[in-house]
């Protein structure tokens, strides 16, 4: 139940926002901060996105207490420390613009047993999260796989997945060659080295879901003919970065790996029976603000991601 004081706060902020010049607003953008060391980093990125996108931005700071809500330029900041989660939801709902998409950027790693998570999820259309944000293990991606089963109507955007697009393109490109395409159905081993678990799991889950494999044991897939495909994923190097992907078939080995001289470039080649000369692929550096923008702009349903995440859940279960 919304209190009178809260109602007054909402009306005051709305009135202040209305005195500004004419502006368009395309989304409600909710941001939750739950890590003091991370606060400024998050706010800097919110500012970048604010500058580019006409949004109703509401920042929820779970570590602060004080005034329920205040207007900081065009951004609404709410100190939610000590507040009842349902009150937070009411306050936020009152400040959101109806009938435009609402996106929640959950900047923390934990989504389980977080008091604000479920109340906020109830009022948004999409969740943006980074399952390899400050973690290198697989806990967040595991929780996310579980969440996606529980709440299938919330569109998910995982920055860890979105960073993989160049790697997916490189792997797909091996098999764009009509003479190599049949090899896709003869894969016998998969090995991925990355700085955090989420990337390796996502790439494995993606390949498996695209090729109709099943998760038949821990770190093992089975293809449609029942042939076992061992899946090795090793943590090495800095978080959020894939270092090497190796796909073996009976005849050839397909490898994409960072070059030693420049880790912004990947060397891609095929050895063995179907050998192809190495070629270099530059990795475009994409910062988190740009990824979040893409997360906001991409269409609501991403079947490729959803099937890959579902497969990740099965690998980990």
């Amino acid at each position: 139940m919304i209190t009178e004081a809260m109602h007054s706060t909402i009306e005051t902020i709305k009135a202040e926002l209305l005195t500004d010049t004419v502006a368009t607003t395309t989304i409600n953008f909710l941001v939750v901060i739950d890590d003091d060391a991370h606060r400024q980093w998050v706010l800097d990125r919110v500012t970048l996105i604010d500058d580019k996108h006409p949004a109703r931005t509401i920042v929820l700071d779970t570590l602060s207490t004080g005034d329920a809500a205040k207007l900081n330029h065009d951004r609404i900041e709410i100190a939610t420390g000590g507040m009842n989660p349902d009150d937070v939801r009411s306050l936020v709902q009152g400040l959101m613009i109806p009938e435009i998409p609402s996106v929640l950027w959950w900047t923390g790693d934990e989504i389980v047993d977080q008091p604000l998570f479920d109340p906020l999820i109830d009022i948004v259309d999409a969740l943006v999260i980074d399952s390899s944000g400050s973690r290198t293990d697989n806990r967040t991606v595991r929780d996310l796989a579980d969440f996606s089963q529980r709440r299938p109507t919330v569109a998910l955007r995982d920055l860890a997945w979105m960073r993989l697009r160049p790697w997916q393109d490189m792997i797909a490109h091996f098999f764009d060659d009509p003479n190599l395409m049949e090899e896709l159905f003869a894969i016998r081993n998969l090995e991925i080295v990355s700085g955090s678990e989420a990337e390796a799991l996502y790439l494995g889950g993606w390949l498996a879901s695209r090729l109709g494999w099943t998760a038949c044991a821990h770190d093992e897939f089975c293809d449609r003919d029942g042939v076992t495909i061992p899946f090795t994923h090793r943590r090495e190097g800095v978080g959020r970065r894939v270092r090497r992907v190796s796909v073996e078939t009976g005849a050839s080995t397909y490898v994409a790996a960072l070059t030693p001289s420049d880790e912004g470039v990947v060397s891609v080649g095929v050895s063995g029976e179907k050998a192809r000369p190495d070629r270099l692929v530059p990795l475009q550096a994409i910062d988190n603000a740009s990824l979040i923008e893409r997360a906001i702009l991409e269409p609501p349903a991403d079947e490729v991601f959803e099937t890959a995440l579902s497969m990740v859940g099965k690998i980990l279960s």
Partner: protein, 522 residues
């Protein structure tokens, strides 16, 4: 929720790559050689090679490609690579070239020195390309790029044919040609050049480049019109009062005085860039987004341009030439004192034209086009000014209720702006204009690729949508010829008639004032 199993199944013919679902392919698939004629020139260094390098950095180029420079300068392959490295370091949007990408790219660069009128040099080029096919796997596909002075276009095309480099002699792949603007200097020379082109190339193999058409906001004109329901119903004579298309520059002729003094603003900008914009704004919806459907509609609307009779040229046009003045607080010289410019030049550095389109949609809606150098601000835009409201219901005495204006901004800002009227808060019904702005570059969180990157990539893919077809070029020349002929045979005694840094000559203001209208401020 999907169950983790792909909906895609193994294709019987093995032709569909299931990993491509949701993973875009931006890469050009056909291997090819691209030959830059005029490789030692300014355009190649500033624009073309940096564009090729950035296509490579974006992983857009095919796996197998070769880049061949051809010009008179006596360079070896390594000297050409060194020169191109310097050019990329200075002009590439991605900054200086670095290893390992540069070394990888440089391996694909090579050079053929030769005269543009010596068939032996073209035969050397042919052998060079055949060698590239063997060593680089370029598959017999060739894209020629004419970035030389226009006077060399015909001789080069002739020698391409004579040396066996033309499409008729290519039995293993495709042959295409990109031709830089200007395509002719008047209707007769354009037709003469086209005659030479047709002897060697079919129309579908010819890519006449107008780099304006590669700019994202220009492409956005079609999206704005045909991907929204709210604009197109208003896009006609019933609601539109007039259209203004502006391409204003602050720069003078710089080092191009020799060329420009024989060209002028009408040839340099109005006949191609600005007329192309007019076509995109005024055309009917194409039946599909493919090259020929779009180009059919552009051609149709250009054929509906009412010819300006000689007797009306002075009434429906304005010309100007800049005098000394000030740009951004700095004094700048007048046109007639620029290098390689005739001190008594009659060449216009500003041109304004009023066109009428004789068709059902646009009858009696004037299209005002203007372009000039050394104007107050660099700006390119299309402004659709709508009609006045039919009945004034609101507004206190003294309030002006401005017409709605939709502005498509092309450069330097890229976006769309809509002006409309709103009530000023308070007890009285005061009305004022407000503007709703969309900034294209930032709105989508991506930086638009330079036009040359887009257009070269399209030509390599075989997509001619953003290139100008011959019938449109010819029609655009037909539209401006009466103006050119009249201007060239009458000296404008008022020249120079506008100071650098101004809005243009008074005659341009009079052109619109005669219709009871005024230009948007530059």
């Amino acid at each position: 929720m999907p169950d983790g199993t792909a909906t895609l199944t193994r294709p019987a013919d093995g032709r569909v790559n299931p990993l491509r679902a949701g993973v875009d392919v931006n890469r050009i698939t056909d291997p090819c050689n691209i030959v830059f004629f005029g490789a030692s020139g300014d355009l190649t260094k500033r624009m073309l090679l940096p564009a090729m390098y950035n296509l490579r950095l974006g992983d857009t180029l095919p796996n197998n490609y070769g880049i061949v420079g051809f010009s008179r300068t006596e360079w070896t392959d390594d000297e050409f690579r060194d020169e191109m490295k310097k050019a990329i370091d200075e002009f590439s949007r991605s900054g200086p070239a670095k290893d390992p990408m540069w070394s990888d790219f440089a391996k694909r660069l090579s050079y053929v020195a030769g005269d543009f009128d010596d068939v032996k040099c073209f035969q050397n080029l042919k052998e060079h390309l055949e060698n590239n096919d063997k060593t680089l796997g370029t598959g017999g596909n060739v894209l020629f790029y004419l970035s030389t002075p226009p006077s060399l276009f015909s001789p080069i095309i002739d020698l391409i044919a004579q040396s066996g480099l033309g499409p008729e002699d290519n039995h293993t792949g495709w042959t295409r040609i990109i031709i830089e603007k200007p395509f002719g200097t008047d209707l007769a020379s354009a037709r003469a050049l086209q005659t030479e082109v047709e002897k060697v190339f079919e129309e579908k193999q010819v890519y006449r480049i107008d780099h304006y058409l590669g700019k994202e906001p220009v492409q956005d004109i079609m999206a704005l019109r045909f991907a929204n329901v709210i604009f197109e119903p208003l896009w006609n004579r019933r609601y539109v009062d007039h259209v203004q298309i502006t391409a204003a520059e602050t720069v003078g002729v710089e080092l191009r005085g020799g060329y420009y003094d024989h060209a002028g603003a009408l040839r340099d900008m109005i006949q191609n860039h600005v007329t192309n914009l007019l076509a995109l704004v005024a055309m009917e919806p194409p039946v599909n987004p493919r090259a020929d459907a779009v180009r059919d509609e552009k051609y149709k609307v250009l054929t509906a341009l009412r010819p300006i009779e000689s007797s009306r040229v002075m009434l429906d046009t304005a010309r100007g030439q800049y005098d000394a003045g000030s740009i951004a607080g700095q004094p700048v010289p007048g046109y007639r004192t620029e290098p390689d410019v005739d001190p008594h030049s009659n060449t216009e550095t500003f041109a304004a034209v009023k066109f009428q389109i004789d068709n059902w949609r646009w009858a009696d809606v004037p299209f005002y086009l203007r372009s000039g150098k050394r104007l107050a601000r660099k700006t390119s835009e299309i402004a659709i000014r709508f009609k006045q409201i039919p009945h004034r219901l609101f507004g206190e005495l003294g309030d002006s209720i401005d017409n709605n204006v939709l502005v498509m901004k092309i450069q330097p800002e890229e976006g769309v702006s809509l002006r409309f009227s709103a009530k000023v808060p308070g007890p009285k019904m005061h009305i004022r204009s407000v503007s709703m702005d969309f900034n294209y570059g930032t709105g989508f969180g991506v930086v638009s690729a330079p036009a040359y990157e887009r257009l070269i990539g399209d030509a390599m893919r075989g997509d001619a949508t953003l290139f100008t077809r011959w019938d449109a070029v010819e029609t655009a020349w037909q539209a401006v010829m009466p103006i050119l002929e009249r201007w060239e045979t009458t000296t404008d005694e008022s020249f120079p008639n506008y100071p650098a840094g101004s809005q243009g000559p008074p005659s341009a203001e009079r052109l619109l004032a005669a219709d009871g209208r005024e230009w948007r401020k530059i």
